[in-house]
Subunit: 546 residues, 2 copies
């Protein structure tokens, strides 16, 4: 039997587009004499459809899409993800289903049993857990269909009290199919492979895995669909960060001669590729072409520009240099040098006059009070206003350049440098931003060396350095990682050898700045725990914040 894995970049709620992409793949599969094409979880709607699932109109459109796809399936079978209505009176209204289409008809619907509801997942918000564990037959083969999480309750710390594949295995399938929406983080591809291999080993069956690819706002899907034979060899992987389409023969599951043997991409390379895809897809799916950003001469905006130029094309990114009286000469020069290295456009717009005008406007209220945080923020906000004015006038999307370390401790100005339609580096710690810069410079110097080596500064008052207010990033990022990614408490972190004062100050900064992060742009998620939909915190709480 010939099976096609179709790895597609869907667009949430864009049924016309999704059905067209799916239909094209079916037609191509037919031309390759395939017997079955497999699409990803919730392919017809795109993933995650979130609360659109609560609209009957949306579900009906999903069902129409499936019926339309079925019409293309005269000489071929299809397995495709779609939400379906739960006909039972009791329980939630929907299932997350894998629809099996054969002879132009829907012949079976398998309903996802294990519904992830942690981190960025909200599936139990919408779906009833499937409790029907039957297998399907096609061309004499018995097939166990599973959906993503259904294969993940394996290992020593099971999150669920049942294991769907154990039930399906009782029917003696010939192989396993898993359709998924397994989002990227820099650890995920490795974990995913390990989970799939554990299943192959446990059930001694070949496995066909189909994932989403592409970005849906903050969520990035890296693709990497694959086939594993029952000996536990990954016989081929589809592309990472790109659409792909491949035919496999169930009678010949040997390692493909085409399979690239290049070594696994490292963490920073993965983050880089994911961010490029994230920026590119955000603009494509919103129907925008051009980005704008403020270029300070510092490392964050430099890396953001380099990524945006790669994602959108250097001609589609407009940088704005906005010097003030506190800007150093090297900042301007470093920023210009970067734009020149990238052959990317920049304008210089001084904020000095606007700053003076605001100080004048506020002179009565500010009287003779000393320069302070209000004046620092004022400069950042004037820059924010300039960038948004240009964005409104010329149809740019403003890219936010804040990094995860800053976002964590609230080192940024709300409605100032925290502005933007999309945060490119908001899930990348400062120390990782430096690594990204080195990676971007791997072949030639794009980001000026001085930008990488000079001490970070916001340049909002004379001789300001980040280290005036914050612990050294090398220490800070380690503490943040323990608290944010690993959710360690203060005692556990201090016990690792970090200074008590620094740990307590850091945790307090994180917790008292939830109000700022509440209003930040969506952040491209590259780590196992990003700010945003995967980390939900109260604002008025008082925990570790005294």
């Amino acid at each position: 039997m010939k099976i096609v894995l179709a790895q597609i970049n869907y667009h949430i709620g864009n049924f016309l587009y999704n059905v067209e992409k799916i239909t094209e793949a079916i037609i191509e599969a037919k031309s390759k004499k395939a017997d079955l094409v497999i699409f990803a979880e919730l392919a017809v709607s795109g993933y995650p459809p979130r609360d659109f699932l609560e609209f009957n109109d949306f579900i009906e459109k999903c069902n129409s899409a499936v019926n339309q796809i079925a019409k293309e399936c005269n000489d071929i079978a299809v397995i495709i993800g779609s939400p379906t209505f739960n006909p039972a009176v009791e329980g939630k209204a929907l299932f997350n289903s894998a629809v099996f289409i054969n002879d132009g008809k829907i012949q079976y619907e398998y309903h996802k049993s294990l519904l992830p509801n942690y981190d960025i997942f909200d599936e139990y918000r919408y779906f009833e857990s499937g409790k029907k564990f039957e297998i399907i037959s096609l061309k004499g083969k018995k097939i166990a269909i599973t959906i993503c999480e259904d294969l993940w309750n394996i290992g020593n710390d099971p999150l669920y009290t049942i294991n769907p594949m154990d039930e399906l295995f009782k029917h003696k399938p010939d192989f396993i199919i898993n359709i998924a929406a397994s989002p990227f983080n820099y650890k995920q591809a490795e974990i995913r492979k390990s989970i799939l291999l554990q299943n192959v080993k446990k059930y001694n069956l070949p496995l066909f895995f189909v994932n989403h690819v592409g970005a849906q706002t903050e969520l990035l899907f890296d693709g990497g669909s694959m086939v594993i034979n029952k000996e536990g060899e990954i016989i081929d992987e589809l592309k990472y960060f790109e659409e792909d389409f491949k035919v496999f023969d169930t009678d010949n599951l040997k390692i493909s001669p085409e399979k690239e043997t290049k070594k696994q991409a490292g963490k920073i390379e993965l983050i880089h590729d994911a961010l490029v895809m994230g920026v590119r897809n955000y603009f494509q799916k919103l129907g925008f072409k051009k980005a704008i950003l403020g270029l300070s001469g510092g490392i964050d905006s430099a890396v953001t520009l380099a990524i945006a130029a790669e994602a959108l094309g250097r001609d589609n990114v407009q940088s704005i240099l906005m010097p003030s009286e506190f800007s150093s000469n090297h900042s301007i020069n470093d920023a210009k040098q970067l734009a020149d290295n990238l052959k990317s456009k920049y304008d210089i717009i001084s904020i000095e006059k606007a700053y003076k005008s605001f100080k004048n406007t506020l002179s009565l209220q500010f009287r003779n009070l000393p320069f302070g945080l209000a004046e620092e923020n004022l400069q950042a906000r004037i820059r924010g206003v300039v960038l948004m004015a240009l964005s409104n006038k010329f149809g740019y999307i403003l890219l936010n350049t804040s990094n995860k370390s800053e976002a964590a401790v609230g080192y940024g100005t709300l409605y100032g440098d925290m502005n933007g339609g999309l945060s490119v580096l908001g899930d990348v710690y400062k120390t990782e931003v430096f690594e990204l810069a080195r990676y971007i410079n791997r072949d030639s110097e794009i980001i000026p060396e001085n930008t990488i080596t000079k001490p970070p500064s916001a340049e909002l008052r004379p001789d300001q350095k980040d280290s005036d207010s914050l612990p050294d990033y090398y220490i800070l990022d380690k503490i943040l990682y323990q608290y944010i990614e690993l959710r360690k408490g203060p005692k556990e972190i201090i016990d690792q050898g970090f200074e008590e004062h620094t740990v307590k100050k850091t945790l307090k900064l994180v917790n008292t700045n939830e109000y700022k992060r509440f209003q930040t742009p969506p952040i491209l998620r590259v780590s196992p725990k990003a700010f945003g939909m995967g980390r939900r915190m109260p604002i008025v709480a008082k925990y570790l914040s005294r």
Copy 2:
């Protein structure tokens, strides 16, 4: 047996504070010779603790708090909500528990079985569903303990496949206790009573219900704890929107002579009282006293100011009038009149010079392009910068004055009038804002009549009216209600008699403005479907947005 209902305004993660409040109630209950004090669901942590539940340190602090409380319980029993660890290997790590303390010891833990995971609820994110249905005994009485949602799977459209009270009923309890965290919306108190009464009727048992009171950022808890006798009479209700404490005798469950027979508050009165509590608690729990807001002469900022003055005291609210060349005389006069009526402070800060300065700063880029949206937004953003500068300098929290209709269709400027620490009216449709104004004026004119009767305008260009860009609010709000609260599709709404063009335009505006709402301040939730944590939408989707 004498039972105390303790209705307390907890603070999330503030264990010192919560334990002190709980201990005070226990001491008072002892002085009243009570046998049992009942506290709300997750009382020790405050509700909702959200992802703090993923920190072991946080759960350990909850457990310590319970142990500390147990020490106060020598001569009295207590039922109190707390997260507890799930000792089983399989399943999620925690239970949402009602801890029964007697003789100074934890004698039983009931684990919540039905875990709400819709709208603002995320309980299945954290908790394993309890499957142990035992009852407790105290002073010869058998008591069925339930937690909030456990009693809600009653009626014709059950969301869950089991009903915990059916299981508990098999042990023949003498009465039911329900500890809850049932948040306010203007329909909730009525629905809640109906649900509790259905349970009393079904099981023919008295019911003791204890709720939270107070605001936790956007979530408002209205209290209204109550006792219902087995005849189905609500013998007494605790206060709404205030802390309360009352003793009941299980041998004498008759309607209290003290029970107020005043009629049920209407929708607008409920919204008003909820918003006042919401503003007050937000400031108290963050440790702030003073608010600032921009006063335009329009109805939204007028109602916001009136509510803030009631919540915080008129001396703690600073209004700023920021006229521009497009401001009408009546706007300034109406705004002044309102501040005078409230005896509240205001300053006038013209934005004309700052506006000119920005136009000058941007003159090269803007060349001779015609006045447009960029210039309108520029004015709103300059006002935003002025307000934030004052907020930073003097420690005010900026109150956002946008209403739900504007938030829905994106009629507002990001980083301009959409700024603020808290959105007071973001869940109140424009037509409801008018009703609120009339309610605020119920005894005397506080909000000037002209503010209520003049046509709404943003005053960002000459002779601008909201009705230039938007359907009449009377129509718009009805369409929005169908789409947002009721989740009707376009066809269903058009079938109700609304113009197809208007419906499609409105739904498109709602869906294409998710990116703006993503960055809005937390919104005090007063309706069954508020923007924010209870409504989760993708940004890059393309659904009803062509």
